[in-house]
Structure formats: structure tokens, C-alpha cells
């Protein structure tokens, strides 16, 4: 009796496992198609010799060519003649946003979380207020103010905008992660005579490294994703970024689309590379389960 029951239970168990496997396979395929489709569409257009956007039903273009990629690489097409300069500008904006966000965010979260320890009235209220400003609501005043600050048509104006909107999320993540680092560490160091600067440099920064990697990536992605502030704040050709040039490209009805599609794919590479390079840090920084145990 008991043997029969257990074998029946085992078979139910087996069925359930099988259904589970099928279900997750179906879900995986569906997710994969949905998430990769726009990227695939871009690739098809970039590989087409004429830059046709029409989808003809071939899963892979019949005569794929890397002509468009070569055109972007060697700035061969008239529209792309400043591509690497623009890429450099975009990269400068992204890198500076990353560094400044990590710096300002870590200093601020050190003061709020490790020194005031959640007791600072005015400043923590200001910190919370920052979360609550929708990014694109400030474009117009920002544009007019940058003229007053004398920063209009400089890359620094865009960096300032990006940092402003990346810092609140940096603070949020740093505060969450900072709770996992025991305050007793700071206290012990202080009793041994360390100054706040030493605590920040020697204890806080090393222990927060995974979280800093996360906020750095987030800041870089913010900058790389951004279009409107760049479009509005930068005007001279030497200051143009890839995002601006791509958008003007698409405004033009008669361009062969394979060039912008190839440029878009190349533009999409740095964040993806960066993302995969530090994904362990991201897992540790956001997951932090191991840290708890």
C-alpha cells in the first residue's frame, strides 16, 4: 500500500517537474522573442545593402553586407564624418557623469548614513526631495539657466543635468546597501583615532565597492540614454553627440537607413560591454544576499 502510494506520488512529482520544464521553456522563448525583436530588426536593416526597412520575411537577409558598419567605422558616409568625435563627446559625458555621480553620491550618503545616521532633518529632506522631480519637467528652466551660468553649449551643462538626475538614485541605492555594512566598524575606527576622511577612504569606499559599481553603471546608462538635454543644450557641431546626430539622421526621409542602424548598434555596444563586465558586482550590489549571511 505504502509502496504504491509513494510510487504514485513520485509519478505526480515527475509530471509536475516535466510541466515545469515545458512551461519555463515556453516562457523563455516568448521572453526571448519579445526582448530581442527590436534589436534584431535593427540588425536586419544594418546588414541590408540598400538599407531597406521593409521586412520581407527572410529571417536573415539574402545578401548581408557589412558595408554600413564599415561606413560608420571609417566615417565613409557624408552624414557620419564626425562619428568618432561625437562618440568621444558622448563618452566624455558618460564617463564624467559616472565619476561625479559616484563621488557626490558616496560623499552625501556617507554624511547622511554614517555620520548623521538618519537624524539630519533639513538635509535628508532635501535628499528625498531630489527623487521627486520628473527629469523632463525641468528642461525649459534648465536651458534658460545654463545661459545664466555661462554653461550653454558646453558638455558640462549636459553632465550637470545628468548628475543632477542620477544622484538621487545613487543615494537611494547607497543607503540601502550601506545598511549592510555595520556601523560598529566606523565606531571602532573612530575610537582608534581615525578622522572621518580616513573612515570614508579606508572603510566606507572599499566596503561599498559593489554598490559604487552599480551606481556608476546606472549613471553611465542615464547619460547614454539621454537625448533631450543634449539636443537642447548643445548646438555647435564640435559639441554634437551620437544621440543628436542619430536623431537628425532619422528626421531625414531620404537617407539609406542602414547607416544609422549600424551607427545605432555601435552606439549600443559600450553600455552592454560595461554591463556584462561588471555584472558580478551588480549581482553582489543589488542582491547582497551573501553579504547578509
Amino acid at each position: 500500500m505504502s509502496v504504491a502510494l509513494s510510487s504514485r506520488r513520485r509519478s505526480i512529482h515527475r509530471w509536475r517537474r516535466r510541466a515545469d520544464a515545458v512551461g519555463s521553456a515556453v516562457l523563455s522563448v516568448a521572453l526571448l522573442v519579445w526582448w530581442l525583436l527590436p534589436i534584431y530588426n535593427m540588425l536586419l536593416i544594418a546588414l541590408d545593402p540598400e538599407g531597406e526597412t521593409e521586412f520581407k520575411g527572410d529571417l536573415w537577409p539574402s545578401d548581408p553586407t557589412l558595408k554600413a558598419f564599415a561606413g560608420v567605422f571609417f566615417e565613409g558616409y557624408w552624414y557620419l564624418k564626425d562619428f568618432w568625435l561625437q562618440f568621444g563627446n558622448s563618452f566624455f559625458i558618460g564617463a564624467m557623469t559616472m565619476v561625479l555621480t559616484a563621488l557626490i553620491g558616496s560623499l552625501g550618503s556617507f554624511a547622511l548614513g554614517r555620520m548623521w545616521r538618519g537624524r539630519a532633518g533639513v538635509i535628508s529632506t532635501a535628499a528625498l526631495l531630489l527623487y521627486t522631480v520628473p527629469v523632463y519637467f525641468l528642461v525649459i528652466p534648465f536651458y534658460l539657466l545654463m545661459h545664466k551660468y555661462g554653461l550653454n553649449d558646453t558638455l558640462w551643462a549636459v553632465i550637470a543635468a545628468n548628475v543632477t538626475f542620477a544622484v538621487p538614485y545613487a543615494l537611494l541605492i547607497l543607503q540601502w546597501y550601506g545598511r549592510l555594512v555595520p556601523l560598529e566598524l566606523d565606531d571602532a575606527a573612530r575610537i582608534d583615532g581615525a578622522t572621518p576622511v580616513q573612515v570614508y577612504m579606508r572603510i566606507y569606499l572599499p566596503l561599498m565597492a559593489p554598490a559604487l559599481a552599480v551606481i556608476g553603471i546606472l549613471a553611465f546608462l542615464t547619460a547614454w540614454n539621454e537625448y533631450l538635454y543634449q539636443f537642447i543644450l548643445l548646438s555647435s557641431p564640435g559639441n554634437k553627440t551620437v544621440a543628436i546626430s542619430l536623431a537628425t539622421f532619422f528626421d531625414n526621409e531620404y537617407t539609406p537607413w542602414n547607416y544609422p542602424a549600424a551607427a545605432s548598434l555601435i552606439y549600443a555596444l559600450p553600455p552592454i560591454v560595461l554591463f556584462f563586465a561588471v555584472r558580478r558586482c551588480i549581482a553582489a550590489g543589488l542582491g547582497s544576499r551573501r553579504f547578509r549571511q
Partner: protein, 305 residues
Amino acid sequence: MTATTVLDVGASSPGKRRSLWRYWRGNLKGSEFTWALAFSVPYIAVFLGFVAYPVFYGLWMGSDPALYSDVFSDVIYQDTVINTLVFVVLGVNLKLFLALLLSGVFMRPGWLTKVMLMLFVLPWAVPQLPAFISLHWMLNGEWGLLNNALWILGGIEGPSWLNERWTALGAAIASHLWKWTPFWTVILLAGRMSIPQDIYDAAKVDGATGLNRFLFVTFPLLANLYLVLTLLATIFLLGDFNTVFFVTGGGPNNETHLLATLGIRNAFDLARPDLGVAVVMTALPVLIPLVIILMRKLRTTEVQL
């Protein structure tokens, strides 16, 4: 508790002033306070220079009541308000609900899950602009990938998505989901991962499995985080510009604008910056209560991860 309050009220005025001063300094002594302030200076400077000042500048620009009669009488504006409501309500809730479900899927062990997660976060790493332009092409009614694939696979003639107001708005929402669901999934995944395993073990002993486990263990523990994320996502979506601008371009006939894109259109295409600011300002009656709730939530709950 009550006694202290009474004592505080009854204290002489210098004592009261000292306690207020102490509150402001966050109970830090002399040099400690100076250090803490020094660490916050860059942050405070960013706040004052790039948030507080632009906000007040914007308030000042949009302070003329005559502007608002212009805004409210604009037919495009009336459509825009409805679009923004639909976009925010559907966008936020679908996105977070999907993220909540998917974060559960990605909790499963195994290498396949890891690979899937890596592919899944790809849209998050792809810059918005190329992604949305690609989606714009895909959705073209005559030659886009979506309709042509529908025709080839099932002989279905898809609608011309971007030429009708509601399908265009739906396309914008779907594009937003495509781009941003991974981000919120990763955050909710982090939230799920930080729930200690012992709680699940205890629940298992008590017989909670499957749906019950989710309803009575996981969700109550995630509820606070979920609420905070909902508020953040709402604020974030209220100010979304890129999705609509690149996927629908505000068309057809300016029928799919959101407040953010309409503000930019008024300010730069119509060269009326004050009118642009006024459009955006009309979101304040909704935004301010959200901000107050969010600030309370963030301060009091300390987001128990």
C-alpha cells in the same frame, strides 16, 4: 514619550532653541558636524544650483494666470491630459506587475535562468533612442516587421499601429514596457533575494507552498518596496519624454502627446517657453501629493529590504 513632549513644551526658550539647533545638527558635536556638512557640500550645491533654482525659476515663469486659460483652451492639451493619465496608470501598473512576476521566475535555480536573466536585461542596456526608433520602424503599418510577420505567419492584416490614436498610445506603452521592465525586475529581484531563507523554511513547516507562499510570505514582505517603487515609477513616467517622442512623435495629428512632450513642443516648436512651462505645471496638483506620500514612505519605512 508624552512626558518628554510636555517637558519640551514647558522648557524655557533658550532650551527650546538649543534643541532645535541640535535637531538641525542631527545631534552631532562641533567638528563632527563640520565634517558631515563638508561631506554634503557637493550634494547641497547640486541641489541648490540645478534643482531648487530651476524649480523656482519654472514656477516664476509659469506664474501668470493668463497662461493657463491659453493652456486649458487648447484641444491638444485636453487630449494630452487623458493620454498622460492612460500612459501613467497602465504603464506603471503593467510594468511593475510584470516585473513582480518575472522577478519570481528569475529566482529559480539553474544556469538557464542565469542566461535568460542576462538576455532579459539587454533592453535596459540598449540606449533608448536607437531602440525606440527600431520599434517605430517595426510598427509601420505597411512594411514594418510586426505586420509583415503577422501577414506571413497567419495571413492577418495588422492595423497601421501608429496612425490611430489608441493603437499608437498602446504602442508607446508597450515600448516603454520593453525598455524599462528589466530595470524594475532587477530591483524587485534584489528585494526578493534579500528575504531570508529561514522565513521560507518556517512557512514550509507551516504548510505554505505555491500561491500561498507568495500571497502570505513573499508579497507582504515586498509590499512596502512595491509601493515605493510604484510611486517612484509614477513620478518617473510623468516626466517621460523619449518614448512618445521617438515611437509616435506625438502623432497622428498631435493626438498622442504627453505633458512632457507637449511642453517641449510648445517651448521649442512654437517658441513659447512660458506656455511650455505652464503645460508641465498643470501636473503639480497630482505630483505634489505623490511627492508627499513618497517622502513619508521613504523616511518612515526606511525600505526594509
